[in-house]
Structures are given as structure tokens and as C-alpha cells.
């Protein structure tokens, strides 16, 4: 099993275990399985040992290193780490060492966490399988022939394989929740603005949000309490402190109204076992005293289409900064424009170019209103439909990923097939709401009903902006009701 962050921190603070011993156990797990899984772009073992020794020295002095004392954490490689290479799994940033730390990196470090490395991702977080990495794919620790999901596949796999107790990822259209679902761990997309994005390399700025991975709902709550709250370095940061989540975690769901979103649960393409898991979770919540019923949020059906206009449009603008001038790769050319174009051609991978092209087209003269403008109006409709649903319900339930983990290469030839993985997660990003995925049972994949182990299913809880405290209570109740097989997170052996 993955070593729980809450117990590590309690043990380290009480002097029952040293931060260094905890770290060495995780480094040993990395040594044993990382060559198969490839969760990391970089393992920072030396820095981690130095940091763990500092934590132990602080304990020896009688200081309290903080709520994450000695907790090994993996960081998605699109979070800036001062002096430590940060690549976004792209050739265009290979070898770049940021001159500053992301706010979330600083916060986990100040809370006593020990960073073990930078995790693999789909290049610039564009993808749902971590196969779009310039440095090779990450594999699912539960079945090495299958993907871990994406784009934060390395962070999800690192927690599932016991390489780190917790991890940070980023979620633009499901990039924390979908890999969490496929790897059998907890993954959270916080409310837009709840967590600082200073030092998160931008993909689509009206959608991106940093979020935690953990092996339990309580560890995810602990990590979100540490990283959340206002940051003056991020102008989209909500001017409020991080919500208190752990205090109310065990309050249960008595009296809560919970809606099961028809469009994100009963739709074609959602594996029957996944739909059944949502039903079983809902029944367990009913047994625990909640009132559950079906609800329609009709415009969420158009979320995917709107997302694939809005996100690439924003990406085409954000990625204009990779021009061979200030950092990263440069391929020389006859003049500046030629140098820019050659650098970007050589430095970006296939999917990134596809999205830049799509976004540039959607924003270009003559198409702006029909594509980008219409997608923005559909976004308003999705927000209105959610508002209507949240008048009747405290939280909503849905599938996270339409299927359990698929095989490497199964969806790489057709971009649209790959995009469909995010159909249940995208609406929360468009609305700026909170959502989380909780492991709930396992199923055999539909593409290979025999000859492979049963693979994790995730159930998604959606909440309105700022709804994290209730969302986590519901998540905790689902975790308590989950079949024993859900707890296959951990060593994966």
C-alpha cells in the first residue's frame, strides 16, 4: 500500500520514524519499478535526501516542520522548480532550469514535504494518456501494457506505484481526475482560483487548475489545505484562505441532496461496469442518509465540442512565448520569423502542433465568432445548467473516465477518439467548479475481457465553486463504501 501522508507526517513529527527512512523506502520502490513504469522525467534523489535530513534536524531541535513533515511528494513537470529542470515533457524546454519556484512547490516545501522528482506528462499537458510525451510514455502500474491516463499520468502512476505518498498535477479538462481514475488513486480539481497557478506553465488559462493526487480522500484534503488559499502572485487567485477540509471529513452525508448527472453517467461510450459503479456509490450514499436521484444537465453534452475550441484557442496564444528567444530550444534561421518557425517546428510534438493550429484557426478572421464566440456562449449555457442543478442538489455524481485503462497505442491514431476520454470531466473546468475522482471497485477492460487484471474505476463527485468541504465529505463516504478491490493502489504488485 502507498504510505499515507497523514500517518507519515504524524510519525515524523512524533519522532517515531525519520524523514530519511521514509524517503529511502520510497526511493527503493522507485529503484525497483521505475524502469518499467517511467513515472518520472527526473528523480531528484540527492536533493530529496538533503531535504529529508533537514527535516530530521528540525525535529531533533524540537521544531515542527509542518503538516507534510517528511512526506515524499512527486511534482508534475509543468510546475517550475528553481534550478531543477522543468520540461513540460517537451523538447522545446529540454534542459531549462527555472529561476523561481511555483507557489505550490514553495508551499509544500514550507509544509515539510520532500520532493522526489518531476513527473512525466503529455507534452504541455495536452493529452489523456501520457503518450504525447517527448520522453516516452508512462505505463499504468496495475498493467504495464496500459496507459495511466493523462495528462498528469506520471503523478498518478507515482502515487499508485508507491514512488511518492502524494503528488501534484494540473487539470485543464480532466488531467488530474482521469489519470487518478485509471490508476486507482484519489484526484482533485479544485475550484478555479482556489489554488495559485504562479509557476504552473500555462496551457489554457481560463481552465487550468493545480490539484492533488493521494491514496486516500483524507490525504488529498491535507494536501489541498496546504496548497490552497490566496496568492498575490496570481491575479486569478481567489482572495480567501484555503478551506478547512479535514475537520468535517467524517461528518457523513445525512440530509445531503445528491444528483446523478444523466449525461455524464448513462451516455453511450461509458462502459457498463463504470455506470454500475456510479449506481452502487449512489446507493451507498442513500444508505448513509443522503437523498439521491437522477438529474439532467443537458448542455454538458456540448462540453467537449466547446472545450476543443476554447482550450486550443487559449493554448495557441499561451504557447506563442516559445519563440527561441528567452529560454529553451533555438533553431537558427535567416531572420527572426524564420528562426521562430523552425524552432517551433523542431521543438513541439504532433499533438501540440495540432492544438496550436486548431486554436489559431478558431481565432482567425472570419471564423472567430462561429467557432470561438459560439463556444464561449455555450460555456455560459453550461454554467447556467449547473446553476439550475445546484439549486436542487448539494453535489452531483458522474463517471470520471468512460472506461478503465486502455492499451498503449489504442487511441493514438485518431485524435477525436482520444479527446472523448475527457467527456465527463470537461464540464467542471468550463464552469470553474470543483470536482474529484474516488477509486470505486474494478472492472475488466471491454477490449480484453480476459488475460489482464481487473483495473480501477473512478467515481466523480462534482461541486459548485467553493463546494470543496461538502464534496470531500461525500468523497469520504464513497471511499468508505468502496469495494475492497478499490484499494489496489499502492505497490501494485
Amino acid at each position: 500500500m502507498t504510505d499515507a501522508a497523514l500517518s507519515i507526517a504524524a510519525d515524523v513529527r512524533a519522532g517515531r520514524r525519520s524523514a530519511r527512512d521514509v524517503l529511502e523506502a520510497h526511493l527503493a520502490q522507485i529503484a525497483a519499478r521505475e524502469s518499467d513504469v517511467h513515472a518520472f522525467n527526473l528523480v531528484t534523489a540527492d536533493d530529496a535526501r538533503e531535504r529529508a535530513n533537514e527535516i530530521d534536524a528540525a525535529i531533533a531541535r524540537g521544531d515542527n516542520p509542518g503538516p507534510l513533515a517528511g512526506v515524499p511528494i512527486a511534482l508534475k513537470d509543468n510546475l517550475c522548480t528553481r534550478g531543477v529542470p522543468t520540461t513540460c515533457s517537451s523538447r522545446i524546454l529540454e534542459g531549462w532550469r527555472p529561476p523561481y519556484d511555483a507557489t505550490v512547490v514553495q508551499r509544500v516545501r514550507n509544509a515539510g514535504a520532500v520532493a522526489v522528482g518531476k513527473t512525466n506528462l503529455d507534452e504541455f499537458a495536452m493529452g489523456s494518456s501520457t503518450e504525447n510525451s517527448a520522453f516516452g510514455p508512462t505505463r499504468n502500474p496495475h498493467d504495464l501494457s496500459r496507459v495511466p491516463g493523462g495528462s498528469s499520468g506520471g503523478s498518478a502512476a507515482a502515487v499508485a506505484a508507491g514512488f511518492a505518498s502524494v503528488a501534484l498535477g494540473s487539470d485543464t479538462g480532466g488531467s488530474v481526475r482521469q489519470p487518478a481514475s485509471l490508476c486507482g488513486v484519489v484526484g482533485v480539481k479544485p475550484t478555479y482560483g482556489a489554488v495559485s497557478r504562479y509557476g504552473l506553465i500555462a496551457f489554457a488559462s481560463s481552465l487550468d487548475q493545480v490539484g492533488p493526487f493521494a491514496s486516500s480522500v483524507s490525504d488529498a484534503a491535507l494536501l489541498l489545505e496546504v496548497i490552497g488559499g490566496h496568492d498575490s502572485c496570481d491575479s486569478t487567485s481567489i482572495a480567501q484562505p484555503a478551506p478547512s477540509l479535514l475537520d468535517d471529513l467524517e461528518r457523513g452525508v445525512e440530509g445531503l441532496r445528491i444528483g446523478i448527472v444523466t449525461e455524464l453517467t448513462d451516455t453511450d461510450g461509458i462502459q457498463p461496469d463504470v455506470k454500475a459503479a456510479v449506481e452502487t456509490a449512489a446507493n451507498a450514499l442513500t444508505d448513509a442518509g443522503a437523498k439521491t436521484e437522477r438529474v439532467s444537465v443537458p448542455s454538458t453534452m456540448y462540453g467537449l465540442s466547446a472545450y476543443y475550441l476554447i482550450a486550443p484557442a487559449e493554448a495557441s496564444s499561451n504557447l506563442a512565448r516559445y519563440d527561441g528567444v528567452r529560454y529553451g530550444l533555438r533553431i537558427d534561421g535567416a531572420d527572426v520569423a524564420d528562426m521562430n518557425a523552425r524552432t517551433r517546428e523542431a521543438g513541439f510534438g504532433r499533438e501540440v502542433k495540432r492544438r496550436i493550429m486548431l486554436g489559431t484557426y478558431a481565432l482567425s478572421a472570419g471564423y472567430y465568432d462561429a467557432f470561438y464566440g459560439q463556444a464561449q456562449r455555450v460555456r455560459t449555457l453550461i454554467i447556467r445548467d449547473f446553476e439550475h442543478a445546484y439549486e436542487q442538489f448539494d453535489v452531483l455524481l458522474a463517471a470520471t473516465s468512460p472506461t478503465v485503462a486502455f492499451e498503449l497505442g489504442a487511441k493514438t491514431t485518431d485524435p477525436l477518439t482520444m479527446y472523448l476520454n475527457d467527456i465527463c470531466t470537461i464540464p467542471s473546468n468550463l464552469a470553474g467548479h470543483a470536482a474529484m475522482s474516488i477509486p470505486f471497485g474494478t472492472a475488466l477492460p471491454v477490449d480484453a475481457p480476459g488475460g489482464t487484471p481487473a483495473l480501477p474505476i473512478g467515481v466523480q463527485v462534482l461541486a459548485p465553486a467553493g463546494g470543496e468541504p461538502v464534496m470531500f465529505r461525500v468523497g469520504r463516504s464513497i471511499e468508505l463504501a468502496a469495494p475492497i478491490s478499490s484499494h489496489l493502489g499502492g505497490s501494485g504488485t
Binding site: 465540442s305 519563440d323 486548431l358 484557426y361
Partner: protein, 101 residues
């Protein structure tokens, strides 16, 4: 929005706008792929949005100002050390189009 096909000439034009020196093979495959993606994305046109305002951003935030006080910026040498080329405390680039060499 009735015709969502995109021509190879349009793809070439967009590549120029996006400053991507795409190969012939890439132009061919992107013409097909972008056509298919745009056809799916055009489903947004099925919704009646007359009178619906656009949402550019999920938060109702406007004009977030920081305190007007000096604070340290990133160390210049460290920043320039990460650049492909620097000279005299500045980023160095090839000549700008139309300028004398």
C-alpha cells in the same frame, strides 16, 4: 458553419500565422485531422445561443492590482543564462525582417 472542411491552403495560411514551419506530410495530415475535429467541434452551433453572453473566464474578477511598491525581480544573470543567446545584458536574436544585415 455549414461547411467545416478546411483546405490545405488554409492550413498553410494558419501555419504561417502560428509560426510553425510544417513539413508537407504534416500539412497533409493536419488538413484531414483538423477537418474531422472541426466537424465535431461545430456541434456547438446546434445550440440556440441568441442573446446568451459569452464567458471568457469563470471568475467575476476585474482589474486585480498589486500594491505599488518596488520588490526584487528575477536575477538578470540567471534569466539570461537560460536564453539561447544573450549579449550585453540583453537577449540576442537574428536580424529582424527587412533590416540591413
Amino acid at each position: 458553419m455549414s461547411d467545416h472542411s478546411i483546405t490545405r491552403a488554409e492550413v498553410e495560411h494558419v501555419a504561417r500565422l502560428a509560426r510553425l514551419a510544417l513539413t508537407d506530410d504534416e500539412l497533409d495530415s493536419l488538413t484531414t485531422e483538423l477537418g474531422a475535429i472541426l466537424e465535431h467541434a461545430a456541434q456547438v452551433s446546434a445550440l440556440d445561443t441568441a442573446g446568451v453572453p459569452p464567458t471568457a473566464h469563470p471568475l467575476p474578477l476585474v482589474n486585480v492590482f498589486r500594491v505599488d511598491a518596488t520588490r526584487p525581480s528575477l536575477p538578470r544573470d540567471e534569466v539570461l543564462a537560460a536564453a539561447p543567446a544573450a549579449e550585453g545584458g540583453r537577449f540576442r536574436v537574428p536580424r529582424i525582417l527587412g533590416e540591413a544585415p
